[in-house]
């Protein structure tokens, strides 16, 4: 499985995720959250930023179900789902992830026909530090 190849802007996201916290970068001057992280605020151009904790609640914005040809580790689990989750606290922050049955469950643990756009989900954290998503009403 691929691990995040991170950069200085993204590293704090993964450090917090490894501690089981979902945080997004926000401007320390005007307060606007932004994703993906970047050096300065596109609204007010401030270089001051903070990592704001979010509730981890969201809704499915869209999803796909990839089938082979895929990289071997992923092909083994295909078909699996990849979702985009819109955060309740910051609707324009949308995170890519996997909808699973519980922490550390495989990518294909939830049947694709259980997934609906608009479904409420919340974040859980895998042992590898990757945020995952589970249905609020399984």
């Amino acid at each position: 499985m691929l691990s995040p190849v991170t950069d200085p802007d993204g590293a704090p996201f993964w450090q917090y995720a490894a501690q089981g916290e979902l945080r997004v970068q926000a401007c320390a001057a005007c307060g606007e959250p932004r994703f993906p992280p970047r050096p300065c605020c596109p609204h007010c151009q401030s270089f001051a930023s903070e990592w704001r904790r979010v509730s981890g609640h969201g809704r499915i914005w869209s999803y796909v179900v990839p089938h082979p040809p895929l990289l071997p580790d992923y092909a083994e689990q295909a078909p699996y789902n990849v979702v985009v989750v819109e955060l309740t606290d910051a609707p324009r922050i949308r995170l890519v992830g996997n909808l699973v049955t519980g922490p550390d469950a495989p990518l294909n643990s939830l049947p694709p026909d259980r997934i609906r756009i608009g479904a409420k989900v919340h974040a859980v954290f895998s042992g590898t530090g990757l945020p995952q998503w589970v249905l609020e009403r399984p």
Binding site: T6, Y63, P112
Partner: protein, 382 residues
């Protein structure tokens, strides 16, 4: 300032055969396409003083120029973002020639995609931004990234797989008229489409472009010079690039309105500098790496309103005789996937009146580059 409008023209086009596998390498194919385009124009290689290409090709200007015997080059540019750069090559040459930086420009694309590696398989070259936010979760390939937008598009606007099939079918029908097309002898039916294997749901095999070896090129000169060339000049009426504010590439999930992309930005500039409107376009060559890009582009370039791109494809609208005949050589879906350069050359053929699926009396053509990445577009006229 005079601007670009009709200041330059495409006077030569050339191409190699298209196939899943061609024995010659990328550089050799590039040389063949470029020399064919110059021959078509009736211009000697030594007269070329400008080149334009786009990324994801390994052959560079030095290699090409010394191989085919170009003269001294005074302008050369390479546009980024792969298929988003196709039309920008012609736009850059038109700018250079209109402003006196050069006199004879060649744009080209050579590709060994059919027999070469798939870029997404390269895990070593995984760029930290923005791949860290997508690839670990198994969103690996361009088709996965676009399928995510396609699902949302279908959900918001009620577009259906039948709409995407309409796109695939129109391209395949045109390829069935084009002996040079990879899918020349391979008709497509609705049953084949609906029962084909998934690649990334909601997109199936036939929603994906071909994987092709091949090369194409075209020659751009001033309108004055164009009158002395072999063929009817095809004028570059308007040209634009587009990189929208807060755009994120193919994974455009992070701006306020992910279902509008670079097409909207390019279109605003394109139409601002044109003497005609979308309703006056006789034939369109719209970048079709995936069928789902067509409804988005139809909206972006102003052929219909937001959310109507799916419905626009109904009742044979994209076929010959329809509202907007599309990708009349077969496009990337069914002629060849050469990062969209075949769409430029097909636009030229339509306006010369020599397409294998000729739109009667075609005088205006829109050509677009890849939507979903920083893009470019051309309005051509005869």
């Amino acid at each position: 300032m005079a601007g670009l409008k009709d200041a330059t023209a495409i006077v030569g086009i050339g191409q190699t055969p298209f196939a899943r596998h061609l024995p010659e390498d990328e550089k050799t194919l590039a040389c063949r396409a470029v020399l064919a385009a110059l021959d078509d124009a009736g211009i000697a290689p030594g007269e070329v003083d400008a080149l334009a290409s786009y990324t994801m090709e390994e052959t560079d200007e030095v290699e090409l120029a010394k191989a085919v015997g170009f003269g001294d080059l005074t302008f050369f540019s390479k546009v980024g973002y792969g298929g988003g750069g196709s039309c920008a090559t012609v736009a850059h040459l038109a700018s250079a020639i209109a402003t006196g930086q050069a006199t004879v420009g060649v744009a080209w694309r050579s590709r060994k995609r059919g027999s070469g590696p798939r870029p997404w398989r390269n895990t070593a070259a995984q760029l930290p931004t923005p791949a860290q936010w997508t690839r670990p979760y198994g969103l690996l390939r361009p088709v996965d990234e676009i399928a995510m937008l396609a699902r949302r598009y279908m959900h918001e606007y009620g577009a259906t797989r039948d709409h995407l099939f309409n796109v695939a079918l129109a391209c395949r029908n045109r390829a069935n008229q084009n002996p040079a097309a990879v899918m020349y002898e391979r008709p497509l039916t609705r049953e084949m489409y609906m029962t084909s294997r998934w690649i990334s749901e909601p997109l199936c095999l036939f929603d994906n472009c071909l994987e092709t070896d091949g090369a194409l090129a075209c020659v751009v000169v001033s309108r004055e010079r164009a009158r002395d060339c072999r063929h009817t000049p095809v004028y570059v009426h308007s040209a634009a690039q587009g990189l929208p504010a807060q755009h994120h590439g193919m994974i455009n999930y992070w701006n306020d309105d992910p279902l509008t992309g670079p097409a909207w930005t390019a279109a605003r500039h394109l139409w601002k500098h044109a003497d005609f409107t979308a309703q006056d376009v006789d034939v369109a060559q719209i970048y079709d790496a995936f069928t789902a890009l067509i409804p988005l582009s139809l909206e972006g370039y102003g052929f219909c309103e937001r959310g109507e791109g799916g419905a626009f494809t109904e009742q044979g609208a994209l076929e010959i005789g329809g509202r907007l005949p599309l990708n009349t050589g077969g496009g990337g879906l069914s002629e060849a996937y050469v990062h969209g350069f075949n769409l430029i050359n097909e636009g030229v053929k339509q306006l010369r009146g020599t397409s294998t699926a000729q739109v009667p009396g075609a005088a205006t053509c829109l050509v677009t580059a890849g939507e979903g990445v920083p893009t470019s577009a051309l309005l051509l006229r005869s």
